[in-house]
């Protein structure tokens, strides 16, 4: 069901999204997104060796935050703005929990808007990739 402006309120939580991409998933993301930095798929790459592992693309997490919001909207609206900050590395196979809350909702110039606070929590509960979004609801 597409999301409706009247069906949520400030403070509501978005349904969480769990992700634990392995190497193969990251290779698929590299193919789709175009970032073939070996740090995201090659354990023999010097930088991966130095870190002890490959790491998840920052942009993978950014896109996953987009998926979180897209799932919530269910095409009942559009994303106007989406941002995130890369504050910590995430490793393949480790479970990340993506979620968010409705920070505020308001109407402006005939548009129904909502602002979201987003997070990507690692297995220890640390938010490695805080984000925000502004969405416009269709109705």
């Amino acid at each position: 069901m597409p999301l409706n402006y009247d069906s949520f309120k400030e403070g509501d939580a978005l349904p969480e999204l769990k992700k634990a991409p392995g190497v193969t998933q990251l290779v698929k993301y590299a193919a789709g997104g175009g970032d073939f930095n070996p740090l995201h798929h090659d354990f023999a790459f010097p930088q991966s060796k130095a870190l002890g592992s490959i790491i998840i693309h920052g942009r993978f997490k950014y896109a996953a935050l987009g998926e979180l919001v897209s799932n919530w909207l269910d095409h009942g609206g559009r994303i106007r703005k989406l941002s995130c900050q890369y504050r910590g590395m995430d490793l393949p196979e480790a479970e990340m929990t993506l979620g968010g809350t409705v920070k505020r909702k308001w109407e402006e110039n005939g548009e129904k808007l909502a602002e979201l606070d987003l997070y990507v929590n690692n297995a220890k509960g640390k938010n490695t990739t805080p984000g925000t979004a502004i969405v416009v609801l269709n109705g």
Partner: protein, 352 residues
């Protein structure tokens, strides 16, 4: 398509105290204005800066025959000018030009822009005082410009974002086997003093040659599959049409795939090699600060986007763990086949 993969435990938060902020504003450090823009509790400080500068001006004018009355009057006038100035910028910038900002943000940044006014206290020096007053006036004007830019642009997160993988590579790459160090605690590499040279500044605002990015049903599916979507709308054209799109819509953050031409494209990050003049800073280490995408229209399979990017800002920030950092903000603009700007993406590379 982050060009820099090394994403350690984040750029450390830097929050200055009042004194450092005033000194920073006096030195025209744009990060101070950015900081107070986001610090809602700094309104009192901003008012204090206005008052201090006005008192300094009043004292400076004592030598020129000003008295206590003109001093008090000067403080009141400065306060009035501050509020009216911010209101005008807000009216013009936000209401007329559509920037996203609010009046309190502008009041805070413009309040701190009064900081160079404290130099007017030197006006009390006989004969030479006028030089200080003139310098204060010029510095104030520059501070105002920085403050307005900061306060009225206002949409980037404090530590934001890479523009479509166009973050400039450091000109000297880390040697193999010596990856950028991860700043954790106090163990990071301390950067040498960073100066923004004229050559670096000259690269700001220069648009790269345009490059074509394609959005096809196959490319949309490849991206959606890479992220792990299960929503049929990004895979099945019938489902997309039922949801109200002309074709498969781009999943959020996907802004098309740059056309790949061997020799002309970056083999690792897939974007065009010629993405405008680079910022030649010589710093070895780079972190990806974050990404922001702003949408102005739908992007669907079948669209062809013309993409250009530019360095939109250079800022130096003090960080406790890495010393000085150069923050390079890139802005990439996506125009569709109808000439509509459908998206802008901003990214921040943190070099140290």
């Amino acid at each position: 398509m982050t060009e820099n993969p090394t994403i350690p435990d984040g750029p450390p938060a830097t929050q200055r105290n009042f004194q450092d902020r005033v000194i920073g504003a006096l030195m025209l450090d744009a990060t101070v204005f950015e900081e107070v823009e986001h610090d809602e509790s700094s309104m009192g400080q901003a008012a204090a800066v206005v008052a201090i500068a006005a008192v300094a001006g009043g004292i400076g004018a004592l030598g020129a025959g000003g008295g206590l009355t003109s001093l008090i009057g000067g403080v009141l006038l400065a306060g009035l000018a501050w509020v009216i100035g911010a209101a005008i910028v807000w009216l013009v910038g936000v209401q007329m030009m559509g920037h996203s900002s609010d009046l309190p943000q502008l009041l805070r940044t413009l309040g701190f822009a009064s900081a160079p006014g404290v130099l007017r206290i030197l006006g009390i020096i006989p004969l030479l005082g006028w030089i200080a007053v003139l310098a204060a006036a010029i510095l104030s004007l520059i501070a105002w410009v920085i403050a307005v830019r900061q306060g009225a642009s206002g949409s980037l997160p404090p530590l934001g974002s890479p523009g479509c993988g166009r973050i400039r590579r450091p000109t000297r790459r880390p040697r193999e086997g010596h990856p950028p160090r991860v700043p954790e605690g106090n163990g990071g590499t301390m950067a040498e003093k960073i100066d923004i040279t004229d050559e670096m500044q000259a690269a700001v605002g220069v648009e790269s040659p345009p490059w074509t990015y394609e959005v096809t049903t196959t490319s949309v599916r490849a991206f959606a599959r890479g992220v792990g979507y299960t929503d049929r709308v990004y895979f099945d054209e019938a489902a997309a049409k039922a949801a109200g799109y002309p074709s498969l819509p781009c999943p959020p953050t996907y802004l098309g795939t740059p056309v790949f031409i061997p020799g002309e494209s970056n083999d690792t990050f897939s974007g065009p090699k010629n993405s405008g003049p680079g910022v030649k800073h010589g710093l070895k280490n780079v972190l990806d600060g974050g990404t922001e995408t702003e949408y102005f229209g739908d992007i669907c399979a079948g669209d062809t986007l013309t993409v250009s990017s530019k360095v939109s800002d250079l800022t130096i920030r003090e960080s406790k763990t890495t010393g000085q950092m150069l923050i390079v903000t890139n802005e990439t603009t996506f125009v569709n086949q109808d000439g509509t700007v459908v998206a802008k993406q901003r990214g921040q590379g943190l070099f140290y």
